[in-house]
Every structure is written in structure tokens, then in C-alpha cells.
């Protein structure tokens, strides 16, 4: 069979996470049947699900956070009782000046999650030496708490899966949808411990399923409800709203329409935002007391739900409780603006910053006709000519870059630290985008001067660490073979050391563009 290395690069780099080194034969396999190579992954039953020993469900993780917070609070109270004179109540601003890096992020978000000043004790910075110190808090390195441990375990599972995947197309789809429906771990302790579970539970089961199902799973996931404040939103006329003199928070409702379905300019008004906010009041998760259900699980709180019918986008929704919101989401998923928004974003990610309109139109039609069948959407993309003909000009994101490097070097991570710190440094901290619109997906974002310089520093570090044991020209064969430019080949050949050659290979246009 004729071999087409250029098409193999498209299969591996544009659709997947890059060729694996070692004995994988990825590039050769992809070059004999590029489309088949990409599609093969979609055919695996349950190939998207991620189950690894030790990864727990959202309620289990929520309960772990509650228990941890109780424990910290008790330790602090015990310390206070033991030495009341020694613990002048540090001014809150003082207390906030010295949290550790992670604690700082949690800190800001902790303010949102925890209303009462007494809950300060539950914040990790209470464990800092400068805060009122429980006996255990020494300046010595602290052991990881359950939140940090969980986050690292989830990150590791995802990284290992991405490194080992044959093509990586399904893992790229997971990353795409996870970024579309992003939450941020920096919102608070619950968000950090739930970040991985959210992706495993709400995103992965539907990546090759149906968009309406993914939408419902996402908006009912405790991590999303926490991230966009819906657990605090009360129907103004609901029993809880009346009793507690609190009311609506329209954060989640707005982002559902602006970012998750219709897109900005998708034809909704401020009135629709408020209306949807009312419709989804009561969508929350059970708290630590577990009055409404198992702590940390999704519940519909009738007490918090705004009674009565609502009008959204000109359609009336009867007062059917939970079903009212589910009906609204189902209609949003089928709205023509949603199809257009999703198709555009999808093509922008896979083909070009400026997505070819004919391809967008085709995918939009597939989305509409299949009622949001995401496998059909992915297949239509792979079957298109545009996706194979467009030049490989998109910059790999920092996550793509690090995963592709690990795959080429056949290094299955056993510790996520290097990846996590690399992602932080390069401006794409895992599961922690700067806003609910996720990380950007354009060259303007990822080909900036500082970013490129930092990539080079990271590539040089990898070269220094691993360059001794590899033949850079072998790696070039695995990565691009005869599709590599003569200049890249020469640059690698002429490097003064294997370490340097590896750094240059990882930074070559063949490894940076997809």
C-alpha cells in the first residue's frame, strides 16, 4: 500500500497527540491508512472511559473534603484551647498574605465557598506557619492533603492515558469537550478535588455519545454547580429564598447559554438569562449534613426552586420541578445557534484558527440531523477533505506539547509533577483556565514570545535529563520520517550533543505545529 507520511502527520498530530516512539510503529501504521488509523480508536467500546484504581466518585470525594475540613478545624480549635494567649487573632489581611501557592488559589475561592468567618479554620492557609499554628504545623515540608493527592492522581491517570493512547484522537476529544465545559480547580477545595471526577463522569461517557446528554450531565454535576455558584442560587419566591432572604445568582445560567450552547450573540436576552437562572434554582449538591441526599451528590432541592412556569427564548416551561430545567436544556441543545457554535469551535480546534465555512456548515448539519451525535460529528470531520488538506499551522497548546514530547520519548509518567509545573509555567494550568470560557484555541495565544522561550527552556531541561539515552535521529524517524524538513534534519544532525539535539527536535516546527 502506498505510504503517505504527510497524511500520517495529519492523523497523528492534528487528530491525535503525536507519534509514540519506541516500537509503536505509529507513523508507519498511520501512513498506510491515515483515516482508518484515526477512526480505529472511535470503534473501541468504552474506549473513552477512564477507570483507574483509587479514583473515586464525586460524592466520595466531596465527603473526603468535608472530613478534611472538619479535621483542620478541630486541630485549630484544639490549638486555640491549648494556648489562648499565644494566638492573637491575626488580622484577616495578615492571614491572607502568606498562603502557599495552591493555598492562595484555594484561598480566594474559599471566600466564595465558605460564608462564615469561623470557616477560616477550614482553609489550608490556616496550616501555614504564620497563621495561628496548630502543634503539627512546622515550617518543614507538609505532607500532601487529600485534595492535593486526589488532584495529582487524577492528573496522572489522564496523562498516562494520553501518553499510551494509540492515536490520541479520543483523548483529544476529551480535552476539547473538557475545555468547552470547563470548570476551574482554583475555585476552591471542592473544585480541585472534583476536577478529574467531573471529566470522568460528565464528559467522557458522552464524548462519543450525544451532546444533549453531555450538557445535562455537565450542568447537573456538583463541580459545575459549585464552579458557577448555582448551589447558592435560590428562587426568590421559593421557601428557602423567603426564609433566608437570599435569591438568584445568574452565573451558571448565563454561561450555559453564552459558553455551553448558543454562544454569545446566539439570540438570547438578559431576560432569558434571568429566566434560565430561575428555572435551574434548586439544582445543587447535598452538603456535609446530607439533609438532601448523600453529601456531595447532585440533588434537586424543591425548597430552593422558584415556583411557577417560566418563559425562555419565547417558549413556556411548566412548573415541573427538575424536569423544567431538563426540558430547557434539551431545547437549548437543539437550538440552531448551538449547532453553529459547536461546529465552529470544533473546526477551529481541529483545522484552522479561521475555520473553513463549508466544513463548518457540513458539521453543523450533521449535528442538527443526528440530534447532537458527537461520534457522527467526529466521523464527519475525519471524512472531510478540508481536515486533511489544510496545512499544519496550528500551534500545539502547552498540554499538547508536553504530551506529544512524552509520547515520542516513550516516557509514561509515574509522577505528574513535571507536567503540572510545566503547564503552570506555560500558562495552561491543568483544569484551571482563567475564566469559564476555557483556554484559548488560537495561535495568537500559544505562539507568543514568552511562551516560546519558556518552551525552549523546558525542552532544554528534557534534553538534559533524557538526551543521554536516545538517538535523536531515530526519534525524528518516529516523529516525522521523510516528512521532516531538511533544515530540521540538519539542525539535529549538527547539534553539539544528544541533549542539545533532543531539545532542538522537541522545538522543531514538526513538533510544534499540528
Amino acid at each position: 500500500m502506498a505510504r503517505d507520511t504527510q497524511a500520517a502527520l495529519v492523523a497523528l498530530n492534528r487528530f491525535g497527540f503525536g507519534a509514540r516512539g519506541g516500537a509503536s510503529g505509529d507513523l508507519i501504521n498511520a501512513s498506510s491508512d491515515p483515516r482508518g488509523f484515526v477512526k480505529a480508536e472511535l470503534a473501541r467500546p468504552n474506549g473513552v472511559l477512564l477507570e483507574a484504581p483509587g479514583l473515586q466518585s464525586t460524592p466520595q470525594l466531596g465527603q473526603a473534603v468535608f472530613a478534611y475540613q472538619d479535621q483542620v478545624k478541630q486541630a485549630r480549635e484544639a490549638a486555640k484551647a491549648a494556648a489562648p494567649a499565644e494566638t492573637p487573632p491575626a488580622a484577616p489581611t495578615e492571614l491572607r498574605r502568606n498562603p502557599s501557592l495552591n493555598a492562595a488559589a484555594t484561598e480566594i475561592a474559599g471566600q466564595m465557598a465558605e460564608a462564615k468567618p469561623a470557616d477560616n479554620a477550614a482553609r489550608p492557609d490556616a496550616m501555614q506557619p504564620n497563621a495561628a499554628a496548630p502543634p503539627a504545623a512546622k515550617p518543614a515540608p507538609q505532607p500532601l492533603n487529600v485534595i492535593q493527592k486526589t488532584f495529582r492522581a487524577e492528573a496522572l491517570a489522564r496523562l498516562q492515558r494520553a501518553t499510551l493512547a494509540e492515536c490520541g484522537f479520543t483523548e483529544r476529544l476529551v480535552a476539547f469537550w473538557s475545555n468547552h465545559f470547563c470548570i476551574s480547580a482554583s475555585k476552591g477545595e471542592l473544585a480541585r478535588i472534583w476536577a478529574g471526577a467531573f471529566e470522568r463522569e460528565a464528559i467522557r461517557p458522552h464524548v462519543l455519545g450525544r451532546f444533549p446528554d453531555m450538557l445535562r450531565a455537565v450542568e447537573q454535576h456538583p463541580a459545575m454547580l459549585f464552579f458557577l455558584d448555582n448551589q447558592q442560587s435560590l428562587g426568590p419566591d421559593s421557601r428557602a429564598g423567603q426564609n433566608r432572604k437570599r435569591g438568584l445568582n445568574e452565573n451558571l445560567a448565563r454561561e450555559i447559554m453564552e459558553l455551553h450552547t448558543l454562544g454569545v450573540g446566539g439570540g438570547y436576552t438578559q431576560g432569558d438569562v434571568t429566566s434560565l437562572a430561575r428555572i435551574i434554582t434548586g439544582w445543587t449538591f447535598a452538603g456535609r449534613q446530607g439533609q438532601l441526599g448523600s453529601p456531595g451528590s447532585f440533588v434537586f432541592s424543591v425548597n430552593a426552586h422558584q415556583p411557577g412556569p417560566q418563559v425562555l427564548l419565547g417558549r413556556s416551561y411548566e412548573a415541573t420541578g427538575l424536569a423544567q430545567g431538563e426540558a430547557a436544556l434539551a431545547d437549548l441543545a437543539r437550538h440552531p445557534s448551538t449547532a453553529n457554535f459547536i461546529a465552529t469551535k470544533f473546526v477551529r480546534h481541529f483545522v484552522a484558527d479561521d475555520p473553513p465555512p463549508t466544513l463548518v456548515a457540513r458539521l453543523r448539519d450533521v449535528f442538527v440531523k443526528s440530534d447532537g451525535d458527537l461520534k457522527a460529528l467526529a466521523m464527519a470531520l475525519v471524512d472531510s477533505d478540508e481536515a486533511w488538506k489544510a496545512p499544519l499551522t496550528k500551534m500545539r497548546s502547552p498540554y499538547d506539547f508536553l504530551v506529544a514530547s512524552g509520547r515520542l520519548l516513550a516516557q509514561v509518567p509515574e509522577d505528574p509533577s513535571r507536567y503540572l509545573s510545566g503547564l503552570n509555567l506555560l500558562g495552561q494550568p491543568l483544569w484551571s483556565p482563567p475564566g469559564p470560557n476555557g483556554f484559548p484555541d488560537t495561535n495568537a495565544a500559544w505562539a507568543a514570545p514568552e511562551g516560546i522561550k519558556l518552551r525552549l527552556d523546558i525542552a532544554a531541561q528534557i534534553g538534559a535529563r533524557l538526551g543521554n539515552n536516545i538517538d535523536p535521529l531515530d526519534l525524528l524517524e518516529f516523529a516525522a520520517a521523510d516528512a521532516a524538513s531538511i533544515e530540521t534534519r540538519r539542525t539535529i544532525e549538527r547539534a553539539e550533543s544528544r541533549q542539545q539535539a533532543l531539545a532542538l527536535l522537541l522545538m522543531s516546527p514538526e513538533m510544534q505545529r499540528r
Binding site: P92, T93, R96, R97, S100, L101, A104, A105, E107, I108, Q111, M112, A113, D229, Q232, L234, G241, R246, G247, L248, N249, E250, N251, R254, E258, V264, D354, L425, G427, G435, N443, A444, A445, A447, A448, P449, E450, G451, I452, K453, L454, L456, D457, I458, A459, A460, G463, S485, E487, T488, T491, R494, A495, Q500, A503, L504, M507, S508, P509, Q512
Partner: protein, 405 residues
């Protein structure tokens, strides 16, 4: 559209590269001095992403409706954490003592009830308008600060703006070449490896060549005693970023214009009053302003820092002790060149009938007027250039006079 803009960008960078200037763009940055009067002005634009609650940062505590609307998070003149009175009507958040000091010294000013022309409530579109300088959101790939740079007379004038952070903010993207810098905490690649890679990019990927050369040059210029990124909290990070930018800008051949963005101002729930989440962030901003002041040294006299955000937040707190997306907010000016010590506001009042759509502080000042005023006074840009190129279709928003000494 995007394609076209990007090609132009590429072309301009390639032009630079062939000119031999790119690799040394940093070192050859011409001195910016206005020949006529020998002034050497600096401008720093700080974008607060997420929509700052102007009513909680500079509270109109003299307005009879303020306390009721802002409820549990309203600033007050008394209590455990009293706000700092700026005049008899407005009070500054107590987390900003440095700004208060600058204000007392008449080197800081507040513009209240201000907004861009954008009247919807999407962060991302709002930031687009704020940074692009266009009347509405669109797929624009250049920012007003970049176009202002482009409009400066060639020759002895500076040709580069400094983008602080891992990615260039839209306000500074465009045809005028920019350079970027962010704190690093890594052992760096050696020069030889960098040069080889540069050579490869020159032949195979001009866009990456340009990006890399700028990244390399800036990194050198900024590295020094304490410029390695240290583990620190968000406040420390804001300070650190400001410190690094100030250091670069203080150099004789350093960039005269910089832009940076701080995230996290989207306070929907439990925003906090004098202490709490917003207070924490404002403390970071205040620290960053102090870092600019000390890092710029003598140059501070010639400096204006403009702090702006995409829109404000609701006048009335929501059901969760926070505020939802609104309209009117504040802009802050700080720096030795600011004619400060005043709150500039055509105050619309907070009576329900006076609120924009019965929910937001009504904007009475166009943010573009403020920025145009600063640009005109600092860099002598004409009304026409400001109204057509820098802020297209903005003739009705006249430059505000007298903001800068």
C-alpha cells in the same frame, strides 16, 4: 478576516527579521523622547479581567441609596475597617492604602461612572471592546494600544510595547511589534541551543523565529537579582509581575509602554466588603501600583498607570452577597504625571430611576474619553488619529482634558 490580519502580522514580523532588527529588537529599542520638551513619558495599562465592582472599590457613601443597594458588602466610613475618604462623597476601599497615599500626594485619580461603549454583559465581548477599542465586539485582532504605538511618528520614537505575561493581551496585539516577558522559574536553555533553534526557525517558521527572538531578548533584560519566579500567593504574583515590568521599563532603552492583565474580579458570590475576596484582590492591585512606583524610580514622575475593566457590576447585591454583571464602574489613574487628588464623576445617582436598565450604575463618562485624554497629553496624538484609528468611530467621545500634568 483572521487570516488576513495574521498574514499582515506575519509580514510585518518577517520584515523586521529581514531588516536584521528582530533578534536585537530589545537592545536597539530607540529612546523615546519628545524632542520639543525632552519629556520621556511612560504608560502602563492594567486590565482587570472579570469586571471590577467599582461601587465596592470607590464607594459613593454620600449617596443615600448606596448602603441599601450594596447591602452587606457596602463600604462605610466607620466600623472595624473604615473606608478611606477621598472627598466628602466618595470613599476608597481600605485594602488600598498605597493608592490612598498617591491620591493624597495628588498622583492618583479616580474616574467614576465610566464605561466602554459596550452595553451587553458578556465578559469576553466586553473585554474585546475594552481592549480592541472598537465600538462593538468582533473578531478583531488588534488593540487600541498597539494602534496608538503605530500612530506615533517614526524615527526617534519607541517602536515596541511590552506585553507582560505568558500571552500578549489583545490591547497590545497588532502590527506594531511588541515584546513579551513573564517571570521564569526554570534553568534556561543555553545561548548556543537558542541560536541554533533561531537559525532553524528563520528558515522554516518565521513566525516562531520572531516570537523566539523577542522572548530571548526580554528574558535577558529582565533577569537579575530577584526576578526568578518564587512560590507565592496571588498578591505576591501581582507584585512580582509589576516589579519585573517596572524594571524593564526603568531602563534607558526599555519599552515606554506596557500592558498587563490581572484575572479574578468576577465576584458573583460572597464578594466581601472591607475584608474578603475583593479586598484580597484589591490589596494585590495596590501592591502592584506600589511596585511600579518604586521600580520606576525617577521615571515614576513621567509615568501614568491606567487601570480599567470591561464593565461594572450590579448596583444591588444579588442573592448570594455578590454582584452580577453590570455596566458603569471606575477607572483608576496613578503615577507621578497624573493630575490627581480628585474623583472625576458626573454622578448619575443610585435612585432606581437613575440606574441603567434599573440595575446598573449608569455610565456618564466614556472610558475612551479618559484613555484618549491620557494618550493625547502623553504622546501628542491628534484628535483625528484618536477618533479614527486608535478608537474607531469615537469622535463623540472627546478626549478628556487635564488628566495629566
Amino acid at each position: 478576516m483572521i487570516d488576513c490580519v495574521e498574514n499582515r502580522l506575519l509580514t510585518s514580523r518577517r520584515g523586521l527579521l529581514l531588516g536584521g532588527a528582530s533578534f536585537a529588537a530589545w537592545a536597539y529599542l530607540p529612546k523615546f523622547a519628545r524632542a520639543a520638551d525632552g519629556r520621556d513619558p511612560r504608560l502602563i495599562v492594567v486590565i482587570l479581567r472579570g469586571a471590577l465592582d467599582g461601587l465596592s472599590t470607590v464607594g459613593p457613601i454620600g449617596d443615600p441609596d448606596y448602603a441599601g443597594l450594596h447591602g452587606s458588602i457596602a463600604l462605610t466610613a466607620d466600623g472595624a475597617h473604615p473606608a478611606i475618604m477621598l472627598d466628602s462623597f466618595f470613599a476608597l476601599h481600605p485594602a488600598m492604602p498605597e493608592f490612598a497615599r498617591m491620591y493624597r500626594d495628588r498622583h492618583a485619580a479616580v474616574i467614576h461612572a465610566v464605561a466602554t461603549p459596550y452595553r451587553d454583559r458578556s465578559h469576553f465581548d466586553g473585554q474585546d471592546v475594552l481592549e480592541s477599542g472598537f465600538v462593538g465586539p468582533g473578531r478583531v485582532q488588534s488593540g487600541w494600544l498597539n494602534r496608538a504605538l503605530e500612530a506615533l511618528p517614526r524615527g526617534e520614537r519607541v517602536s515596541s510595547g511590552l506585553a507582560v505575561g505568558p500571552t500578549t493581551p489583545l490591547v497590545l496585539r497588532g502590527n506594531a511589534p511588541t515584546v513579551g516577558w513573564a517571570p521564569v522559574a526554570l534553568p534556561q536553555a543555553d545561548d548556543d541551543t537558542a541560536m541554533r533553534l533561531m537559525e532553524l526557525y528563520r528558515h522554516r517558521d518565521p513566525a516562531l523565529a520572531s516570537a523566539l527572538s523577542q522572548g530571548l531578548q526580554l528574558d535577558k533584560a529582565a533577569s537579575g537579582d530577584d526576578m526568578k519566579a518564587t512560590r507565592g500567593n496571588a498578591v505576591a504574583q501581582m507584585r512580582q509581575v509589576a516589579r519585573g515590568a517596572a524594571k524593564l521599563m526603568a531602563a534607558d532603552d526599555g519599552p515606554r509602554i506596557a500592558a498587563l492583565a490581572f484575572d479574578g474580579w468576577d465576584t458573583h458570590a460572597n464578594e466581601g466588603g472591607p475584608v474578603g475576596r475583593l479586598a484580597f484582590l484589591l490589596g494585590g492591585l495596590d501592591g502592584a501600583l506600589a511596585e511600579f512606583e518604586s521600580g520606576l524610580g525617577d521615571r515614576w514622575r513621567e509615568t501614568v498607570v491606567v487601570v480599567a475593566t470591561e464593565f461594572g457590576r450590579t448596583a444591588r447585591i444579588n442573592g448570594t452577597d455578590g454582584t452580577d454583571h453590570g455596566t458603569g464602574t471606575i477607572a483608576l489613574l496613578a503615577g507621578g504625571a497624573v493630575k490627581g487628588g480628585r474623583v472625576i464623576a458626573d454622578w448619575p445617582g443610585l435612585k432606581l430611576a437613575n440606574l441603567h436598565e434599573a440595575r446598573d450604575l449608569k455610565p456618564t463618562t466614556d472610558l475612551r474619553s479618559v484613555i484618549k485624554g491620557v494618550l493625547q497629553d502623553r504622546f501628542g496624538l491628534s484628535d483625528r488619529v484618536l477618533a479614527e484609528t486608535v478608537f474607531p468611530d469615537s469622535a463623540s467621545a472627546r478626549p478628556m482634558k487635564g488628566l495629566v500634568a
